[in-house]
């Protein structure tokens, strides 16, 4: 089996690739260079997803499965235009290539952010819940658009079995996303009077979920959660960070300004997620794929620690934490 993995310089791709690589031939592609030469256990190609280079990858290889894990997440670092190019145009190009390249199994990693943090959200959002994310913050429009194009593709082209996963906050020793940088930074802004429930999934559990999806190849859209819910303030405490109170009536613009000045890693466009709970129900994924998270939320929060610039020492997903 030949598998293409996007976002190959990321932690999740490496975990998945290392777990499946002896059996399957893995090819990695990422617009960023690999952190080290031994990072990815297969051929590694540096390419933008919307570039012609990606066509060449599909000309050279015939893939059985594609894991689309690459999505530009750090909305502060990159312009909305660039993210749109990469996340939306890039994904559409990849989907077209999957269709013409005869890929049988496609897995797209979306995010729970697409539901949007809204006071009217039911406590557990299932997969049919409306995607409200871009209503208040255009920074999340590309994430919603990516999810929509993948879902459309799944319905239109049934011969490519497409599974779309919407995981909760991904945390782990090797993950470099917004929530991990925030918790690792040691200072976490918290809106006074609001302490929403949150969900976290460990990098290893997510890798396991992706492998389950790859092995079983069942089309559909699925939420993927971790062990359970935890209040934001508790998460901060267990990650050994300090809370900085911010007033509840503050505008996103002011938060943006303050975080820019103070260099605190707080994403203003995710402000509502620190105010209203956005909790997903992953019963469907558990039932259909037999998924069961193994890492306890507290364990992964405590193990977060400083991000080591070194490569992952043991990329095994079965290693006990």
């Amino acid at each position: 089996m030949k598998v293409l993995i996007t976002g190959a310089s990321g932690a999740i791709s490496r975990l998945v690739a290392s777990a499946i690589s002896p059996k399957a031939e893995v090819i990695g592609v990422d617009p960023r260079a690999a952190p080290s030469s031994s990072h990815f256990p297969g051929e590694f190609i540096v390419a933008d997803y919307h570039s012609r280079k990606l066509d060449d990858v599909f000309r050279k290889h015939r893939f059985d499965a594609v894991l689309h894990l690459g999505r530009i997440r750090e909305s502060q670092k990159y312009s909305p235009q660039y993210r749109f190019q990469m996340n939306v145009i890039g994904t559409q190009k990849l989907l077209d290539l999957c269709l013409s390249g005869g890929v049988k199994n496609l897995i797209v990693l979306s995010t729970y952010h697409v539901y949007g943090a809204h006071r009217l959200n039911s406590l557990h959002l299932n997969e049919e819940a409306p995607l409200r994310a871009s209503q208040s913050f255009p920074e999340l429009a590309d994430a919603v658009e990516l999810d929509h194009s993948a879902t459309n593709f799944m319905w239109k082209h049934r011969d490519v079995r497409t599974t779309i996963l919407r995981p909760v906050n991904i945390i782990g020793k090797h993950v470099r996303n917004t929530i991990c940088s925030l918790l690792r930074s040691g200072v976490c802004p918290k809106i006074v009077g609001f302490d929403p429930l949150m969900q976290f999934i460990d990098e290893k559990d997510l890798a396991r979920a992706l492998i389950l999806a790859l092995d079983q190849s069942k089309p559909g859209v699925f939420n993927v959660g971790g062990e359970g819910v935890i209040a934001y303030s508790h998460a901060i405490r267990h990650a050994q960070a300090v809370t900085i109170p911010i007033p509840p009536m503050i505008s996103a613009g002011l938060v943006r300004l303050l975080t820019d000045i103070s260099k605190i890693n707080f994403p203003p466009y995710l402000m509502d997620y620190f105010k209203y709970p956005t909790i997903v129900n992953d019963d469907a994924f558990r039932a259909v794929f037999g998924y069961q998270p193994k890492v306890k939320t507290l364990q992964s929060l405590r193990n977060l620690g400083p991000l080591s610039e070194r490569q992952i020492e043991s990329p095994s997903i079965d290693e006990s934490v």
Partner: protein, 302 residues
Amino acid sequence: MLKRLLMETDFEQLKGILKTLEKIEVLQFPELEDRIKRLDVELNSAGFDRWGLHPETLKKFAPFIYFLYKKYFRVEAAGLAGIPQGRVLFIGNHGGQIPLDAMMAGLALFMEAEPPRIPRAMVERWVPTVPFVSSLFTRIGAMIGDPENCRELLQHDQSVLVFPEGVRGSGKLFKDRYQLQRFGTGFMRLALESRAPIVPVAIIGTEETYPSVFDFKLLAKVLGAPYFPVTPFFPLLGPLGLLPLPSKITVRFGKPLYFEGNEDDPEDQIREKVQIVKDSLQAEIDQGLEIRGEKVFTKAAR
């Protein structure tokens, strides 16, 4: 120093006050701990259940609510023995401006029913926007009154407390006390769908805690609240006016009602069934009021 200052926010700050208050003798209820221990809840490693209930928070706040229950409002609960085990939809009458009624009914089930249970109260949709209250309510078992929440809870054999009058009931004026307002019908469809028995809960005495004589609609709109009550004491006496009057509260659980039918039935058929619930709740209220008689603040109702 700065670090300590930063830590002392929100609940952290409250915790200090709580620690001092915990030592006060009137707030010592050893039976609370045992009740919390015996709760049938599945907790994760962080100590939360699936819906955000956090027994550790409950342990801290329950003494205060129980003090109100036991000493301040001298609550008496009747009909607890007839409540079926497993999924139940409790339908209550709403009154008294703040959800004291939900807390007292909840505490009756938590402290006096066997085994102890935490009914999940369905709260107003504006509650998530209220600082402190929003997170505290979630920790002690409440959530917004969304049909999806109610459906999932019943499917997981939880008991749910619903006030079908909503703000129409809680925000009504003193002159309209104990008159049931228009009922929503969503609860009946959910009961039919999950085959859950309905137990009417008449809560008597909360209407007298905050006798609202006027609803200041304009101010409510400015504050984003559904209503703004003006009582003879509030806002006239300032924060002191926020103190509820110590009326005696009775919580009466009626006989369980079982309904046959389909959740997709036309609205008029559902409405008929809702009327049965409403009538039986009103009868329970009237009976309770009759027993109580004129002496609102003193006489024991039985």
